[in-house]
Each structure stands twice: as C-alpha cells, then as structure tokens.
C-alpha cells in the first residue's frame, strides 16, 4: 500500500479534543436544552440517512455517484443552525447533510437517489443536485467550485434587495484551487458581498491529499488575506466552535456586508464516493482515529451527557427514531414510481412549461428527430 499522506489539519485536531472552549460563546449560551437535543437529533438523522443510503446503493438501486457526509455532520448542523430567515446556502455535490438540516424531508431526498418521480427534483437531479429554494437552499452542484460565484450572486441579490441576509457557500478543500472560486472571492471582497465561503476541509479531494493539491504557506482560508477578506479556522468536530465562529461571520455579513472565509476541519469516514475503494491514499489507522476519538456526534453526545441534557435512554431513542425515519424513507423510495417518459422534456424552460397568451416564446424549442 502507498505511503499514507499526512493530514495537514492543525495539531490541535490530532489530539482527542477536550471540553469545548466555545460552550459559553453567546451563540451557544442562548441554546436551550431542547435546542441542544435538536442539534444532536439533526446530526443523528444525517448519519442514519447516509448509512441507509449505503444499503440502497449496495442493492444496486442508486445509480451514478453517491458522496456521503458521514463524519462531517457538525458542519452542516453547526453552521446552518445559526442562520435566520433571510440567510441562504449553496453547496457542492456532498449535499445531503445540508438538505436534511434545512428541513428537506427524507422521503423526497431518498426517492431522488433512485430517480423517482417523488424525488425532490422529480428524479432529474440525483444525489449531487438537491434543491429547496423555499428553504433558501440553492443546491447541490456537481462541478467542483462552480457554485462559488452563484453563492456570491445570491448574496449580491440579498444586498440589492435591501435584505439583511447572507449566503453560506460551501466547498471542499479541493475546490479552493478552481479559478471560479478565486473570481468569487475577488468579487465578494470588491463589492462587499455578504457571503461566507465555508471550506469543508476533510483533508482529501478524492484521492489527493491537501498537501499534494494545494500550494499554501499556512491554511487554505489564509488565501482570503490576498483579497482583504476576514478568515478563521474552525474545529469541525466541535459543534459549539462551529456555531460560535459561523455566528461571528454571519454578524460580519449582516452588519458590515463583508465576506468571510471559514475553513472547517473535518473528516470523511467513507470513500470519496461509493465507487472509491479507499485503499490507495490514506491509512486505515487514520480513519479509525477520527471515528473513535474525534467523531462530532459522539463528542456532542458526550458533552450533552456531561451537561445533563441527554441521558442514555434518550440517546437510544433519538437514534432509533432516526434509523426508523431513514428506513421508512427507503421504503417510500422503493414504492415510488419512476417519472413518465414525458417528464424528460419538462422543466427545461419556464416559458415552455407555462406557454400561453402571456408568454413571449414561440416556435420549436424542444427538437426531435
């Protein structure tokens, strides 16, 4: 086996973390017991959903790519839990965690994976392309880094409309080398766009470790300095820290209309996608260490047990309920029909789907043989 690549995560992450230094941050001090349990529940739901997806994939019911969020749950849950009603988000293809956290239902998410008509995109998007504009969730994007300018554009629109909102724009550690990301950074800083770029640094872009992909003197987020943007590093295994530092960036966006780059250190437990045998680029010991010592859900559970917010029975009940929900979603997806063939040529053009006396389009727009 190839020599494993050393993770470039900060030293502090290489040790098992102690109690969070951010528990008393104002963003966290205001959390009720019920809020804290809800955060736990959300992380558990994401994990059980993803684990149920593995089974469906192995049954051969999910085609194409399936990128799992297992190990990274504290990022979607932590960052999104501090947002308000005019705040928006957009992400890449590892998009299930964000979807569940904003309130998309498991049934339609699971059905989408199987290409079913009941899927959140009617079976037209798949795993990488979830959307819920009614929940301020703008996808789910398959091209690495391509969503970065869109996120800046969403935030630009919020500002243009005079709303006090921001757009969390997520990407991976591999995406930071895409030109579109740098163009988005420059525009965000130049135009005072209230966007927060969140780098979910799980150490690898597919099979390429960060040190093999990225020239950087320090951190990935530090590149923000080149654009005069604020930046911060975040321990993504600590929900309190994720919330506290995201809240600070959101305040900066709301109050000063200034962008931020947050680099959140995390780890993915499974291969890049289900088709990655995960054998050439990292060490099993490394995965084991993260799973056992730095798992964000276990650590949150431990914190809440110590705080007396949770007890063992409640933990078991939450996990059982999440598993049950995922199981039911899988059954829902199985039982759902595929879209009719006529669906292939629908949802391409608004004007075509709504053709009438008021629409301005004429002529042939869908071509046949």
């Amino acid at each position: 086996m190839a020599k494993p690549n050393a993770l470039t995560h900060p030293e502090s992450l290489k040790r098992p973390p102690g109690p969070s230094a951010y528990a008393k941050d104002p963003a966290n001090a205001r959390l009720s017991k019920a809020d804290k349990i809800r955060l736990y529940t959300q992380m558990a739901r994401i994990r059980h959903f993803e684990q149920r997806c593995i089974r469906t994939y192995q049954q051969g019911k999910i085609g194409g790519f399936l990128h799992l969020y297992v190990g990274q749950e504290a990022i979607a849950v932590g960052t999104l839990s501090v947002l308000g009603k005019d705040d928006h988000l957009i992400t890449g293809y590892r998009d299930h965690g964000h979807a569940l956290m904003v309130g998309m239902d498991m049934n339609s998410c699971m059905a989408e994976l199987q290409g079913k008509a009941t899927g959140c995109s009617k079976g037209k998007g798949g795993s990488m392309h979830y959307f819920a504009p009614d929940k301020n969730y703008w996808g789910g994007h398959g091209i690495v880094g391509g969503q970065a300018p869109l996120g800046a554009g969403i935030a630009y629109a919020l500002k243009h409309k005079g709303l006090k909102g921001c757009c969390l724009t997520y990407m991976g550690d591999g995406a930071v080398n895409q030109g579109a990301v740098h163009e988005a950074y420059n525009l965000a800083a130049l135009w005072d766009i209230p966007v927060i770029f969140v780098i979910e640094n799980n150490g690898y872009s597919m099979g390429t470790s960060q040190e093999r992909s990225t020239a950087h003197p320090g951190s990935l987020a530090q590149r923000a300095e080149g654009y005069g943007m604020d930046w911060d590093l975040v321990n993504g295994h600590d929900l309190y820290e994720v919330r506290a530092k995201t809240a600070a960036a959101v305040r900066r966006a709301h109050e000063k209309s200034r962008p931020t780059v947050l680099e959140i250190f995390t780890y993915r437990y499974f291969g890049h996608s289900m088709s990655d045998p995960d054998k050439t680029y990292r060490d099993k010991e490394e995965i084991k260490d993260y799973r056992e010592n730095k798992d964000p859900i276990k650590l949150w559970e431990k914190a809440l047990l110590e705080e007396g917010v949770l007890d063992a029975a409640k933990v078991a009940a939450i996990n059982e309920a999440a598993m049950d929900e995922a199981e039911k979603a899988a059954a829902f997806a199985d039982a759902s029909p595929y879209p009719e063939p006529s669906a292939i040529t629908q949802d391409i053009y608004w004007e075509e789907d709504n053709r009438g006396p008021k629409t301005t389009s004429r002529g042939t727009i869908i071509f046949g043989d």
Partner: protein, 325 residues
C-alpha cells in the same frame, strides 16, 4: 418613425427595461463609467446610478456566475460580454449553471438572465476574438439564443429576452452597431422564436441569421438584377426557439433553399436546418439544399482573406446559382 442605429436600439431597450423593472441590472466590463466598450450602454450609469449599472472586473466566470446566482432570487441581470468569444472562460457558468438549474431542480428554480454582446468575425481581430457560438450554445436544452440583424429586431428581441424567465443569450455584431433603421418609440417586443421574411420572392428561399441576413439581401438584389431570379430571404432572428413554420412555409413556396450563416459549417445552425427541411419538406424540394458558411478554419487575421472567409454577396450569389441550376 424614428431612425436609430442598432447600437441605439439596444440602448433604448436597456433603458426602457431598466425603467420598467427595478430588478433589471446591467452588468459587465466597462459598461458604466467608460460608457461601454462599444458605447451600447452610454449614459445608463448617469441615468440609473451604480446600483443598476455595474462595472465588473475582467472576471467572466465570476461575474456571470454572480449574475446567475442573483437571477435565481429574481434579479434580472443583463450581462455584457465584450465579445462572446470571452464567454468561453465562463462556459461552465453559462451552460451548467444557467442552462441546467431549472431541469436539475425539477422546475423549482428559474434563471432569468440575459447575456449579450457581439459574436462575429469580419473585424480583422484574429481567431480568439471572432467566435460565433450560437450553434454551440443553442445545442444545450435550457438555453435560448437570438441573433438580431436590424435595429428594429435588436430592440424588440432584447426587450423580449429581458422579460423572458429563462436564460437568453443575445448575439450582436460589432459591424452592425452603426447600421440605421426605423425603430418605434413605443413599447414593443419581437417574440423569441419568430422568424421574419425580410424579402418576399418566388424562386429561391435563403435562410440566414445575424449579419448573414444583410449579406443575403444584397445577394438577392444582384440575383434579381443580373439573373432575373426572385429570392425570398427568411431571417431566423431566433436560433432557439426556432420558427420552423416560417422556414417550411417559404420552402414549400419556392421549392429551393440556400442556407447562409457566418458560422463555420461543421455542426452549424444550418446543419440542423438542412436536416429539418429534408425531414419535413422533402417532397417540396426541387434541388438539393445549398449552403454557404464561413470557410472552415480558425478566423484568419488577414483582412482581404477574412472578407472571403465570411460569406459575402458574391459567394452567396454563387451558392444560389448552384441551387438554381
């Protein structure tokens, strides 16, 4: 009726739409303070201010992506490309993001963006600045493409494009910016997907779009005067949607067709048209379909040769005579 240049007609469309709808934002390199690289946007900054008329850095993927993102929230950005040739650095945004998002979201998200700018050869600027990507872009379902040839059409199509709820890419032509024509003051649109018979004739149909329409009209004059042939010229105006009915009606009337475009021939717009005509009007044809397009090479710099590379009236006449033979 007032006479405006093609440039002024587009400007009038932008001004009227900026005034009509608060969500319209004009954006691009040099559009505001510099008054536009081709002065299309002249005076708009003064009239509407920097919130509505926005200068961007040279960052096509970035600012077009920003426009697309903003359009998903209901802004109607009208993005200027200094040349459509520069769209290639933003291809992912233009095709994947603008063109696919409605589909991939199962119809939940629209992208009412307009991207406009010149897409033409003939200006002696070499291959990198002379692309005509209407066929490339129109080959992507989700995208609309229009190519106005006259000031009247330029204004009407631009206004329709801005009001349209899908991404519409408007391909202008630097050589036409000074062309003059009658343009009504009042509000009107030219619906996307409506072709226009620019000259009525009986013996031959020429189908063209963009500046090739004007070239074809000149050729039609020559054909009439020197060869006694009556030529009908159909201006597509819109590539996608495509007005098949008008094209086919003309073919059924004249029974002979010449297709003219400034694109390169391989997979050009006319390749699709030729297929369509033989599929739907085969029995009406008295001769094989003829075609005149740009000579199949990267755009040459040398001006005398570039003038041959692009269809000119002489080449169109020659092509027509072959179809009529």
């Amino acid at each position: 009726m007032p006479v405006l240049s093609y440039r002024e007609a587009i400007r009038a469309a932008l001004r009227e739409e900026l005034a009509r709808d608060e969500n319209v934002v004009v954006m691009g390199e040099e559009v505001a303070q510099f008054n536009g690289a081709y002065k299309v946007t002249e005076g708009l900054l003064k009239e509407f201010g920097p919130r509505r008329v926005v200068d961007t850095p040279i960052s096509e993927a970035g600012f077009i992506g920003v426009g697309i993102g903003a359009s998903m929230l209901g802004i109607r950005p009208v993005m200027e490309l200094m040349f459509w040739s520069f769209s290639y650095v933003a291809f992912d945004q233009i095709v994947n993001n603008a063109g696919n998002i409605r589909y991939m979201s199962g119809g939940l998200i629209n992208c009412p963006i307009v991207i406009r700018g010149p897409a033409n050869g003939g200006t002696n600027v070499g291959a990198t600045h002379s692309h005509t990507p209407e066929a490339i872009l129109a080959s992507h379902p989700g995208i609309k493409v229009v190519c106005p040839a006259t000031p009247y059409d330029a204004k009407g199509l631009m206004k329709a494009a801005i009001r349209d709820n899908d991404p519409v890419y408007v391909m202008e032509n630097t050589i036409l910016y000074n062309d003059k024509g009658e343009v009504p003051d009042e509000d009107y649109i030219v619906p996307l997907g409506s072709a226009d018979v620019k000259r009525v004739g009986a013996d031959l149909t020429i189908v063209a779009h963009g500046r090739a329409v004007l070239t074809s009209l000149k050729a039609a004059e020559i054909l009439e005067k020197e060869h006694g042939v009556s030529v009908e010229v159909v201006d597509l105006r819109s590539i996608r949607p495509l007005d098949e009915a008008t094209v086919l009606a003309s073919v059924r009337k004249t029974h002979r067709v010449l297709l003219v475009e400034e694109n390169k021939p391989f997979c050009g717009v006319d390749a699709q048209l030729a297929y369509l005509i033989q599929a739907k009007a085969f029995d009406d044809l008295d001769a094989p379909i003829g075609r005149v397009s740009s000579i199949d090479a990267p755009q040459i710099y040398c001006k005398p040769l570039e003038d041959i590379q692009i269809p000119n009236p002489a080449r169109v006449v020659e092509g027509a005579l072959k179809v009529l033979a």
